[in-house]
Amino acid sequence: MAKRIDVSGLSAYYGTTRAIEDISMTIEPRSVTAFIGPSGCGKSTFLRTLNRMHEVIPGARVEGKVMLDDENLYGANVDPVAVRRSVGMVFQRPNPFPTMSIYDNVAAGLKLAGVKKKSVLDGVVEKSLQGANLWNEVKDRLNKPGAGLSGGQQQRLCIARAIAVEPQVLLMDEPCSALDPISTLAVEDLIGELKSQYTIVIVTHNMQQAARVSDRTAFFNLAGVGQPGKLVELDDTPRIFSNPSVQATEDYISGRFG
């Protein structure tokens, strides 16, 4: 079910401001691709164009093409709602629905898709929570509110919610930046397990994290203040961190700027 993402000539705008310019890249299925780069370089914006979440911001629009296998996500007849069902997303801050129980949070996506049968929901909830390494911690309190969990548990709950609908791609926007080191480790381990089934794209400010979890790393940068962000290079992670082909990448990962 994991699919390949093929982006070509993609630019994204907020109103008249161009946030990212002319990005093309291929993201392989069943791999983890990390986006790194200084703040404001457009990596989160780019991530959000991959499931058409960019355009929910008033005035925001996208030019270019994103192919998921052989379907253009920005094709004329493509429903953004359908795109978001096949490309899941985990956000920077854990955002379980505060009014829902743990169970209902995980089942939320399925219920939106019209699944009503309790036995099906039960099965998916358990499978997803197990997939998110959270089952053992919450199996006795599935009907308690999701907001009552710790930050790290909440983020794994959000991952469970995202994978419950069996997306083809999982996007993660700095999923560990609000978590303590132990919870971060738990989520990173989880990413390692999930990549056998999903195409995973993760934005991170933490370069050690990129080095630890990803197979491929893309470095984004912007030419200056007010300039749109660009993809500088995308390569195998070990190569980016040992012998990048662009000087700016090396400057960034060695801490000379950013």
Partner: protein
């Protein structure tokens, strides 16, 4: 040398602290004073009502709770709240049944559907509705709504008559009934409910809305999964505010309703009464004892409002752990 730096820093520390302590004291006492004042006023009103009611109730020859008539100044004083309580509750229920869904819709339109440049003036317009004096609503109700609503009531009689509630036994009578009052009250409470729910909907964290959208929710599904549950306590509180106004509305009801002491579940039949309307209507001509009797009915309205608010608090508290 060694002692001077701590001394200066201590001196520096002390001065702003002393200043702020004075400010703290003033504001502490001010806010505590306001709180106490509120309790004193509430106690004074309740005490006054209870005292005067007591005077009247001890001489009531009928059953205060079940009597339909209101003749406290007769040689043999008989008065009861049955008709008033029924009319008050029914007209307020009709008002809430109409106003709450419409208010939620308007609030959602302003907070989530309308483009910003339309939403702002539109919200202002709704707020403006709240500034119209109730006598104006009353006059509009009597002069426009009553003569024009016959079509609707006839339709309801014909197609919804089987519900008993919407059956009319006096077809063609001027519709100065509890249903018309309910519609009028609905319009009057709409702005306050809309204003409060709108603010609550605006406060729904963006990240919860995005969570729903990212799961593949349409806009309406996003509102159902993220916005409405989050706004639920606010919707209840807003409805309580509106209900308070609907229960206590006086002059608009008095202008529209043709009051009598008939208690009928046919809410399209003219007649009935409400607490506030009855007080407004009878106070002028009442003798001192009759006024005490009216106070007693006011006390009942006070208690009903208290009970309804208490029930709403319970509903909100029951789901407390699920509120953000």
């Amino acid at each position: 040398m060694t002692s001077s730096p701590p001394a200066t820093s201590a001196g520096r520390d002390r001065r702003p602290r002393r200043d702020s302590r004075v400010g703290d004291k003033i504001f502490f006492n001010l806010s505590r004073g306001s709180g106490i004042l509120l309790l004193v006023i509430m106690a004074a009103i309740a005490g006054f009502l209870a005292y005067r009611s007591g005077l009247a109730l001890s001489k009531d020859e009928g059953n205060f709770l079940t009597t339909f008539e209101w003749t406290p100044d007769a040689p043999k004083p008989v008065f009861g709240i049955a008709v008033l309580a029924f009319g008050t509750v029914i007209s307020a229920l009709v008002a809430m049944a109409i106003a709450v869904p419409v208010a939620i819709g308007v609030a959602l339109f302003i907070s989530h559907y309308a483009p910003r440049r339309i939403a702002q003036p539109f919200a202002y317009l709704v707020d403006l509705l709240a500034a119209v004096p109730s006598i104006v609503y009353g006059l509009w109700g009597a002069l426009y709504l009553v003569p024009h609503i016959n079509g609707l009531t006839a339709w309801m009689d014909q197609y919804l008559g089987w519900t008993y509630v919407f059956k009319t036994t006096m077809p063609g009578a001027t519709p100065r009934n509890l249903f018309t009052v309910g519609i009028l009250l609905a319009i009057m409470v709409l702005p306050i409910i809309t204003a409060v729910t709108r603010e609550v909907f605006r406060q729904v964290p963006r990240m919860h809305e995005e969570a729903a959208l990212a799961l593949g929710a349409t806009r309406w599904e996003m509102i159902r999964t993220a916005v409405l549950p989050f706004g639920r306590p606010g919707i209840i509180s807003a409805s309580m505010l509106g209900l308070g106004r609907a229960l206590g509305e006086t002059i608009a009801v008095a202008t529209v309703l043709s009051a009598n002491n008939v208690l009928s579940l046919h809410i399209l039949d003219p007649g009935g009464g409400t607490f506030a309307q009855n007080i407004a209507l009878k106070f002028g001509e009442a003798l001192p004892f009759g006024r005490d009797a009216l106070m007693a009915s006011g006390l009942v309205l006070f208690v009903i409002t208290l009970l309804v608010n208490g029930a709403a608090r319970l509903i909100i508290a029951r789901r407390k752990e699920y509120s953000a």
